[in-house]
Amino acid sequence: MEHYSLKINGNVYETDAEPFESLLDVLREKLRLTGSKKGCDEGECGSCTVLLDGKPVLSCILLVSDVREKEVLTIEGLPQGGEPHPIQVEMTERGGIQCGYCTPGIIMSAYALLQENPRPSEDEIRFAIAGNICRCTGYSKIVEALQAAAGTPIR
């Protein structure tokens, strides 16, 4: 076991973990930050997406040792001042959420996109969330919600 001080959502979390454990398992099982989901545990579905130094990554295949001295942002860290982030609001109001299991991952991918490109086109939105599988919605409502969050016209 190693000791890790992890910077997550602006806080420092102290935890023991083995270097081979995935960040996802540490977040969910040790730190009880369960917003990031485990859909496949092999990088295929995107439901575990978190931001590492501002970039979206797959926390299920990211070893906790690789997070040392870096900053993690998870879905729990998005609301500001107790208010949901606009992406969270639009996803809620525009039918972008059904079972909700893919939702945190989609929102994190979308958040990363908007940080980099505040007014993305529909194609850019679809490209950014192509690594997030949703089995319920068929994506249209998600794309609409993200367009609304970005303030771009909805087709």
């Binding site: 969910r28 099982e29 009880r32 369960t34 917003g35 990031s36 989901k37 485990k38 859909g39 496949c40 545990d41 092999e42 579905c45 439901s47 998870t74 879905i75 729990e76 998005l78 609301p79 107790g82 208010e83 949901p84 992406i87 969270q88 609001v89 996803m91 809620t92 109001e93 525009r94 039918g95 959420i97 059904q98 079972c99 909700g100 299991y101 893919c102 939702t103 945190p104 929102i107 599988i133 949703c134 089995r135 319920c136």
Partner: protein, 436 residues
């Protein structure tokens, strides 16, 4: 935390005004915030982690299961096999043909043969890999053709043909005589996984009053309880099934998945037990969409009017029925599609094989039938030189006409309007069919 604004307006005053308006789902904001607790997000003090050892072999006699090495893995608290089941080792949605843990025989590669509960997931994983199975392979039945072979071994007592259903209307011979063209084709569809984003999961514990409580990702808590209680030899009032938020089901969480296994381990260890399928477990073990073999003969007159449908639909329900007979029957009921067909002979055959079992999935057999009847329509259109749109418009069920099974359509029959909209769309976007 602030709730998002509700989509309300002054116009929404009467009790039915919600119909037709967009309303945010009540549980959506929690999901967006990541605070919804699915089963996998829950922990309990003293909770153990469980894993299942699958048979890995489609058809075999079980000669022995050696769990001694698995028991020695540090942190392992229970290794269970069929002999540890306190009640009847049988369950199933429609017929009780499934074993909680395989006893005499292995009927599919996804048969659970042993369970492990351990202090960590790694220990449980290590232990299931250390279980040694002594299996004597039997001739496997791996396709619809295999299942129809009279020399094939019977997977269950009673043989491999579980059920046959028929649809009859009019006079088939007359239909054939009335036909100017007949197309005959065999169609096959494949097995398909629902791939719900959340895998099957249960958290089971004994509550302080001695009620076994199972929090689970399920579509039917009461139907689950009906199957769990007898297997665990508990009376119904000693089993409580709590439906957790479910991360996608699409039919696959109709069946028992992880519930009995988690419950059994909790019962045996006196500890809370959480069983979360890995994606691989989920792909192996849960019900799928039925593969079907569909032999279709369809006739039409030169003006495009359908004259008859003559079809045999064979469905591979795998090693266990689940809802197979109902799904496959439904494929037969829908074999003529949304069309007015005067003469019909459709038989369906529900077959056991040693494949992974299939059950409910969005569409429930209708999709497979659609693939066949719509392909037949396209072929007829091509042969007759009619547009694929027109041949459908000629034959669509209209209010007052009846389906093959006698259901008379009323004003809710929208197929004609649907086809007309497609026609309009294609014309306005200058879209044409590739053939014809």
């Amino acid at each position: 935390m602030a709730q998002p604004e509700q989509v309300t307006s002054a116009a929404q005053s009467g009790p039915y005004d919600w119909i037709g308006s967009s309303v945010p789902k009540v549980d959506a904001l929690d999901k967006a915030l990541g605070i919804t607790q699915y089963v996998g997000d829950m922990q309990m003090p003293g909770m153990l982690h469980a894993r299942i050892r699958w048979s890995g072999v489609p058809h075999a006699v079980i000669r022995g299961i050696d769990t001694s090495d698995a028991e020695k893995v540090p942190g392992v608290r229970a290794v269970l096999t069929a002999g540890d089941i306190p009640g009847v080792n049988r369950y199933g949605l429609a017929v009780q043909d499934q074993r909680v843990l395989a006893d005499d025989k292995v009927r599919s590669a996804a048969d659970p043969v042993a369970l492990v509960a351990a202090e960590t997931e790694q220990a449980a994983e290590e232990a299931i890999n250390k279980i040694k199975l002594d299996l004597e392979p039997l001739r496997p039945v791996l396709s619809i053709e295999d299942a129809l072979d009279p020399t094939a071994p019977a997977i269950h007592e009673g043989g491999n043909l579980f059920a046959r259903t028929t649809v009859r209307k009019g006079d088939l011979d007359q239909g054939v005589r009335d036909s100017d063209v007949i197309v005959e084709t065999t169609y096959r569809t494949h097995l398909m996984d629902h791939m719900a984003m959340e895998t099957e999961s249960s958290l089971a514990y004994m509550d302080p009053t001695g009620v076994l409580t199972i929090i689970t990702s399920t579509q039917y808590p009461y139907r689950d309880r009906r199957q769990i209680a007898p297997a665990l030899n508990l009376s119904m009032n000693k089993v409580r099934v709590v439906q957790a938020p479910i991360g996608g089901g699409f039919g696959r969480k109709d069946d028992i998945t992880s519930e009995i296994h988690a419950g059994l381990l909790a019962l045996k260890t006196h500890r809370p037990v959480r069983l979360i399928y890995t994606r691989q477990d989920s792909l192996i073990a849960n019900t799928k969409r039925h593969p079907m073999l569909m032999k279709f003969r369809t006739g039409a007159r030169s003006d495009g009017r359908l004259t008859f449908v003559d079809a045999d639909i064979y469905g591979d329900t795998g090693a266990y029925l689940s809802l197979g007979a109902f799904v496959i029957k439904k494929a037969g009921i829908h074999a003529c599609g949304p069309y007015d067909v005067p003469n019909i002979r459709v038989d369906t055959h529900t077959l056991y094989t040693n494949n992974l079992s299939s059950g409910a999935m969005r569409g429930f057999g209708v999709l497979q039938a659609a693939m066949a009847h719509e392909s037949q329509m396209d072929q007829l259109a091509h042969r007759l030189g009619i547009s694929p749109i027109d041949i459908r418009l000629i034959n669509t069920l209209k209010p007052g006409l009846a389906t093959g099974t006698g259901q008379v359509m009323d004003e809710g029959c929208g197929i004609e309007a649907t086809v007309l909209r497609i026609k309009e769309y294609m014309e306005s976007h200058d879209l044409r069919f590739a053939r014809s």
